[in-house]
Symmetry: D2
Subunit: 134 residues, 4 copies
């Protein structure tokens, strides 16, 4: 990723793995979500609150290129590919300790209110989410 | 378990395992919780509802005797060890396909209302939860 | 899905949910994997074995249309979209109890040997995996 | 915990929660395991390796005193309660951001070799694991 909007260092836990010895494929998304939430918090934006809503996913995709093992240090890189009225499409890359691209993909989230209904991004959200690194 | 109150058949999924090849120890509790919820539903009792509350755990314990692998058929057996004013203590055993005791332990849950505050077991709950198999 | 190759009934567990009250998006893939493994077992095909290998994912995608709650009955429907030399691309649909499409997507898996290296599908695998319902 | 052997800072992720809004009880053990592994790595001890073995759990227990929410900062404190021939019994406390004891318990692990058989703690392991903070 040329100019990521955000970088988040993480580590593959034993719990992330499965019997193959590798990180279970679903946990790439868990690490990406943790990075996304760290970014949102760093900007003072909502992550999740029962009375205010959150960011459910409507579309996700991932390609896996290198397996990850328990204890592997990884970096999640995030960029914003598109902003809709109430949605954000993130691109992500997961880089392993050797600097290789272990996985990459995209996630589209929708800003919903406390009833789970889409709610247009407000000015503050739009400002912080426009600062894209692409 | 001599006379279980409830038996629930289950299967170890790939997702349940970790890099050791065995079921990750936390997932014994997941299978026991699924059995407990199946029992509660079978009696028409609340499992969880945001407006009515649920059954958070206040104390759990487990001993592991045989590892479980992906695809292993298991049976979770439940009995009620004690009923408090607002709490239920379950004993559980997890039996593998060879009929061996793979794990056993106990879980104490508290009936809470929608605010997460303890709420005494009502007559219906007490009736169904008293039908113990011990 | 017009003619699914396989249908697998499942249920959303409490453990599958997150603080939004809905199934955590990663767990759609867990339920799809459980269905895929049930299909493979039903045909006598390998699911995972440390000495024989398995089916790691190289590409996944999902779109979410209806949230799923704890206790929801679901059906996972599978079809095979493409067979490669060593790969299988599955299409999946997750149907809720109202018969609505809750989520759909695709998963590409690669047959690997015990060293994690791609291994061409053998005649038996090809026979069973060709019986497509598309 | 008066003199913990090790302290590990962590954060409750969205994925750690369930529909109650609180951390799912099983994930206390996940955070404790991550702390234990961080400690083992800090001393140069084995965490898990397919050709060398690992530390499966034989007994766990936990009491929960304060619910934890998505984003909560926590500290896991570890001490060693007992060393056996091939086993280690850890005591743990999980402290929330207000400094309150959110959960505490114990975990007994056994050092196993690559075949999953118990293997007596060697001199190096015993040295590092004896440095207890109790």
């Amino acid at each position: 990723m040329d100019k990521p909007l955000y970088r988040h260092a993480s580590e593959v836990s034993f719990r992330d793995t499965d019997a193959s010895g590798w990180l279970h494929f679903t946990n790439i998304f868990t690490h990406v979500e943790i990075a996304e939430h760290a970014f949102l918090r760093s900007r003072g934006l909502l992550v999740f609150d029962r009375s205010q809503g959150g960011w459910p996913r409507v579309k996700v995709a991932c390609e896996y290129q290198h397996p990850l093992l328990c204890g592997d240090k990884i970096e999640v890189q995030l960029a914003i590919a598109a902003l809709g009225t109430a949605s954000v499409t993130w691109n992500f890359e997961v880089i392993n300790a050797a600097g290789e691209l272990a996985a990459h993909g995209s996630i589209t989230t929708v800003r919903v209110n406390h009833l789970g209904r889409p709610q247009p991004l407000d000015a503050t959200e739009r400002t912080h989410l426009k600062e894209r690194g692409l």
